[in-house]
Structures are given as C-alpha cells and as structure tokens.
C-alpha cells in the first residue's frame, strides 16, 4: 500500500476499531468514541475492550480478532506495555493503518526508544503504517471523521466544505489552534496530529496534502524533521502544483548545536537553514504563530491575487495612512487611481473628502451606508488597481452587516481580492464579521495583520514565477540519480 493510500485510510476510513474503548468519556478511549458519534461518523465503529458488552451504545469486542470485518483504521488507546500484543492482533486481522496515541516513547528516553523501534520494526515487517505514537488524532471535517480525543472536537460550530489541511507536530498547540480556527470559521478540513512520527512523518502528510484534490492550502506547525530530502521533495511538488504551504517552525534558539569551526558554521544555524529552505522552495514562513492562519485565510480566499497594485479605502483618514505605511513596508505599490475614477469619486463624495488612493470615505458612511459600496465599485473598476485593502474602524451594528453584505456582493462580481482590516470590538460587529468569514473574505483585526498576509500572498506569487525558471534544474536533482562530475580543471 502506498503512503498516499495509507494516509487516505487514516483520514477517510470506512470502519474504525477503537482499542482501549471506554464508557468513561473522561478517558481518551471514551472521548474518542464520543467525538466520532457526536459528529455522526458514517462508517462502522468497533470498540474493543477485554470486558466486552456494550460501550456508548455500540457492541464492544473482547479482542481485535473478534471484529467481524477488517477495519480500515485501528486507534490504539492503550498503555505502551500492551501495544505489541495489540499490534500482533492487528497484523493477524490484516489491519494496515494504526494510530498510536500513547506517549512514553522516544520522547522519554532510552527504554521508550527501544519499544518504539520494536513497534516500527514489527509494523514494517507486516506492512502496517503508523500515525504516532503520541498523536492526539485526526479530523476530516467534510467526511465527518473526528478520530481524536482533543477537546477541539467538542467545538460547537465546525465549518464544513473547507479546503485547508493542517498538519501539526505538537498535538496540544495544534488542537488549541484548531479550535480557534474553527471558531473563526476558517475552513480547516483535514487535520493531522503527527506525534512522534515513528513511521509516517510530516513530509509524508505534506506530500499527501499536496496530492489530495480536496486540499487547497496546507498549514504546518513544525518542530523538527529527521529527513530533509523528503521534505524538500514534497515542497517541490507543492510548488509544481502551485499549492501554498504555510509553515510555523518553532525551536529557534540554536542551543546545544555541535561545535563549529568556521564562520559559515556559526552563521548557518539550524533554524536559519529551515528558513532558507522555506524561501528556496516557496513555503510561506509564518514568523509568528498568528501568521499561520492569517496567511491561510488569505490564500483560501476565492479571489486570487494576480498582481499587487493596492487600492486602499477606509472610513478613517488615520487608518488610510496606517495601511499605506504597511504597504510601503512590504514593498507593495499604492498607485494613483485613474482620472476616470477621480471624476466618479468627485461626483459622489462630499466636498471634504479627497478623491485619491488611499481613499478616506469619512464618517459620511454613517449617514449614507451605501456610499462605501459606491466607492468600492469605483476602485474595483479601476485598471490601475489589482487588490484592495479595506479598513473599517468603528463600523458596528446594522451598518456593519450592510457593509459586509456589500463587500461580499462585490467580491463575487470581481476577481480582485479584498482584504478587510476591521478594528472595532468583535462583539459590536459580530454579524458583519461572520458574514465576511463565511464568504471567505480575509478578515483581520488590524491593518498590520491584513497587509502582512497580503504581502505573504504576493511573495508566494513572485516565488511561483521564479519557480518556473528553476523547476527544470530541480527536477533532475529529485528525479534522476546521475550527478554530473566536476568538469573543470
């Protein structure tokens, strides 16, 4: 079975054995079943517990061997000491994909390392693929598979139909961020907590996500890699498919690095090298944790950035300046609008506003909420403008909903992307903000974050252009074994 097929079984299993199943939803083996049931998992669930009987309304099996069918996936929620026996049963049952949730392996020291190796060797021998150990599970929203005991699975509103895949090496941070993302209606569809990566690793999941037609954007919370080559190859594949991969990498201080003797060794610390690899292979580097989803929603928006001449509209003159400063900081162009646009704006705006880019609609919007829409239309039609940053300040209540609806309506009529920075308290414009989020219009609480995300999209656009010029040279490296000799003397 290919890695792709294995991960497909992991994320989209038609049946799941839950080994270490429990009635008690305080226990991992109870909670995982609860989550599967709560979200109406469509396949068969086979709880396994030596006590047998029934668990959460499902028939429980005393042994993996008693399960009537071959489950696509076995979730092993048992102590490390019981794992080898369970794996032997999985092999007998012909189960090919297992998740190992227990911790206490390579991360704890020598004994754990030995046990982990024993498990890996056994699995390899029997063609079993492993997610984990130390994984908190997976989710596949659109197919209603929530095979995780993470508290994130209890989120009340999980957005359906999303196209973002999120791979995390840290289960706890990954789960917490996932719940925040879902709450903000970010379309995270496939989520994988990769754990210790004793077998399948972040590069494998990345490659899967790149090949997966339902994934549009990939987010990764990365702590470290064992194999740089597989990772580079996966990023090269993503670049070929023009799929954005956004990565937050922790572990930045190079403490305990091997002693180096040259300047090069000092200047090429491990984290610097990760960042260099991201840049060279077009992965979008999320410098701060907030950037990860800030960038994801920018890439996930249906209107793609094609060129980066930015039009700025705001309900405040001060805000206009902030957005412009940010654009200058990231080297984005804020051009003059056309004479035609100037004429149109002059006709419709009050005397005290200046028809220019950036455009300050002034507080006029409070008297005439439709005026914002009209100015937006002028900018959309302007040939000098490719993308818009809209900064809303104290627009709340019913006007907020109206402005949001107008933005959504116009965004559907144009290919030009719009990035909204909305600085009022969320509670005062909740309806309007949620409308924008549901329409996948990138929304940020500050101008800095909006323009930073826009700049990330623009940089990726530039990278894809650069990639066209170098992908031939790269493909011979990744897909051919012949290396040229030093040809000069």
């Amino acid at each position: 079975m290919s890695k792709y097929d294995a991960i497909e079984k992991l994320l989209n299993p038609s049946s799941i054995a839950v080994v270490g199943a429990s009635h008690n939803v305080q226990k991992h083996g109870g909670r995982l079943i609860e989550h599967l049931l709560k979200h109406q998992y469509q396949g068969e669930i086979y709880p396994v517990n030596p006590k047998g009987g029934g668990i959460q309304g499902l028939a429980c099996y005393k042994s993996i061997l008693d399960i009537p069918k071959i489950p696509d996936l076995a979730c092993l929620l048992i102590a490390p000491g019981l794992l080898m026996e369970a794996l032997r049963d999985c092999a007998l049952k012909n189960i090919k994909m297992v998740m190992i949730h227990a911790s206490g392996f390579a991360e704890t020291g020598k004994d754990g390392e030995v046990l982990q190796q024993e498990i890996v060797d056994f699995a390899k021998e029997h063609n079993i693929r492993i997610c984990g150990p130390n994984t908190i599970g997976i989710a596949n929203v659109n197919n209603r598979v929530f095979a995780s005991f993470s508290m994130a699975m209890t989120s009340s509103e999980i957005p359906m139909g999303g196209g973002i895949s999120y791979i995390t090496q840290s289960g706890a941070i990954g789960g917490a961020m996932l719940s925040q993302g879902w709450e903000k209606k970010i379309g995270i569809n496939k989520w994988i907590s990769s754990g210790n990566e004793a077998d399948l690793n972040a590069s494998d999941y990345l490659e899967y996500a790149v090949d997966d037609p339902s994934t549009g954007t990939v987010c990764i919370f990365l702590e470290g890699l064992a194999d740089g080559e597989g990772f580079k190859a996966a990023l090269a594949k993503a670049a070929n498919k023009k799929k954005p991969v956004i990565i937050y990498k922790n572990g930045r201080s190079d403490i305990g690095q091997k002693s180096v003797k040259s300047h090069t060794g000092v200047l090429a610390g491990n984290h610097d090298v990760y960042k260099a690899v991201f840049k060279q292979f077009g992965a979008v580097n999320a410098e701060d944790l907030d950037d990860l989803f800030d960038y994801a929603i920018a890439f996930d928006s249906p209107n793609n950035l094609k060129s980066s001449r930015i039009g700025i509209i705001s309900t405040s003159g001060g805000a206009c300046t902030i957005v412009t400063d940010q654009c200058v900081k990231y080297g984005l162009d804020v051009p003059d609008i056309s004479n035609e646009s100037i004429k149109k704006l002059t006709e419709m705006s009050p005397e005290f506003s200046t028809p220019q880019n950036p455009f300050d609609t002034t507080a006029q919007i409070l008297n005439d909420p439709g005026s914002f829409k009209k100015s937006l239309e002028v900018f959309i039609e302007d040939k000098n403008i490719d993308a818009l940053v809209l900064m809303l300040t104290t627009i709340g209540g019913t006007i907020a909903s109206k402005v949001a609806e107008d933005i959504i309506e116009l965004s559907k009529k144009t290919e030009k992307p719009m990035y909204v920075a909305w600085t009022i308290a969320e509670s005062l414009a909740k309806d309007g903000m949620n409308k924008l989020r549901e329409a996948k219009i990138p929304l940020y609480p500050s101008a800095e974050r909006a323009v930073k995300a826009l700049a990330a999209v623009q940089q990726h656009m530039n990278f894809l252009e650069e990639w066209e010029g170098k992908k031939e040279e790269y493909s011979s490296f990744f897909f051919s074994s012949s290396k040229k000799e030093i040809s000069n003397s």
């Binding site: 200047l267 650069e466 003397s489």
Partner: protein, 244 residues
C-alpha cells in the same frame, strides 16, 4: 584525475589524524576545482623566500604554514604588503619566531609567499553540513567582520542559477555588488561559478564538513574573483559514502 588529487589530500590528512587542512592543501583543492587563488609558493628558508619573490613580484603577503596552527592571525603568523627583500627577510624571521612562541611544539612546514591582492569588495562563500538538510551554501559580505554583520544568504541543494542570483540580491550589501555611487558592478558571473563549484565539491566529497573562502576579492565585471584565504574542515567518519 581531479577527484583523485583531492582525495589524496583528504586521505593524507586522515592518515595524519588531522581534520583541518593547511592553507596550502586548501588552496590546492581550490586550484583543482578551478577557483582562482593568488599565486603562492612554499618557502622553507629566507633564501628560498627571496628566490620565490622574484617569480611572484613585490608587494607580497606571507603566511605561516603549519598543521598545528589553525588560526594564523592569532599566532601573528600573517604579514602583508611586504615591499622589498630586507622586509621579506626580517618578516620571515619574525613569523617563525611568533609561531614558535605561540606553540613551541608546532611543526612548521614553512611560510607561504603570495602575491598581494588588492580589491575593495570582499565576500564570503562557504559550505556547512546541516544534520537535516545536508550541504548548506552560504554567500555574504566577507572579511573579518562576517560574524558581526551576519549579512548572509543561505541555500541548500539543489542550487539553481536563479537561487544564486537570489543570494546576491538577498544580502543587505547587494547594492555594493551591483554598483553603487559610481563603483563598477562586481563580476557576479565569476562568483556564481565559484558557488557552483563549491556546491559540486560538497556533493562529491562528503568528508568535507565545512568549507570556507573568506575573503574572496571580487573585481569589476569581466575581471574575475580571487579567493584569498580558504578553510577546509573534514569529518573522516563520512569518508567512502559519497553521494554521487
């Protein structure tokens, strides 16, 4: 042929349990892979130094050659801009004296006599092996302040033409290379060739764990670049597992 010559240098250092190549060995490798270095000869006596100076011509640079002295400047083993024979003779004695007081047990091979290279644009080209990503290539503003300025760009393999162009444009000092206030644009194509050759070397010789050319003097367009100093550090545990 070239591979064998380089392999011989590596093997010799392995037999002698050395992980740092001497300047002469390092420069031999540079010559072997076609990276220009200043004309240099080894002198084992002051008389021999005078004789060699006839071929190279004044002004000269003189550097201690000893397998036991890695940091030549620390040992006061480098003297620059030697203009005539009397200066040469006194410098020879002084360098030997300094080396012996720095490390009385050091085996002294001799002193390298080199042509004195002048140029105002100094860059660094380096290679280091990352435990995850393998060979990492470094390019940046060179000279003695590299670790202070930290103005460098890193790339991993494979390194395309375009990546090397990016290395030139990614550093802060990029404008100095492309021409600033009337100064001539630097010979980037020569630098590019040097980086490509270092990359190729890193693939073919896994024993080389760190490789550094600093400074590399780069001249104006069409006039090339010269590596003034080289440092090659080996990890003999990696021998015989060549990637090629």
């Amino acid at each position: 042929m070239i591979k064998t010559a380089i392999q011989q240098i590596i093997n010799l250092s392995k037999e002698e349990c050395r992980t740092v190549l001497t300047e002469i060995e390092s420069k031999q490798i540079l010559q072997d892979i076609g990276i220009p270095v200043p004309d240099f000869r080894l002198a084992t006596s002051a008389d021999e130094a005078v004789e060699l100076a006839q071929f190279i011509g004044f002004p000269l640079a003189m550097k201690i050659v000893s397998p036991d002295i890695v940091h030549k400047s620390d040992a006061k083993g480098v003297m620059l801009n030697i203009k005539n024979e009397p200066e040469l003779r006194s410098a020879f004695e002084e360098i030997i004296r300094n080396a012996k007081s720095y490390n009385p047990n050091a085996e002294i091979t001799g002193i390298s006599i080199q042509e004195m290279i002048k140029g105002d644009k100094e860059v660094i080209v380096g290679m280091n092996r990352d435990p995850v990503f393998g060979p990492v290539l470094l390019f940046g503003a060179g000279g003695i302040f590299v670790e202070v300025l930290k103005d460098v760009s890193l790339k991993v393999l494979p390194i395309a033409n375009r990546d090397i162009d990016n290395m030139f444009s990614e550093i802060q000092a990029s404008k100095i290379l492309t021409g600033y206030r009337g100064s001539q644009p630097a010979d980037l194509s020569s630098l590019k060739e040097i980086i490509q050759r270092v990359a190729q070397l890193s693939i073919e010789f896994p024993e080389i764990s760190e490789f550094e050319l600093n400074p590399v003097i780069v001249y104006g367009q069409g006039n090339g670049a010269v590596a003034l100093d080289a440092r090659v550090i080996l990890d003999h545990r990696k021998s015989g597992v060549a990637a090629s």
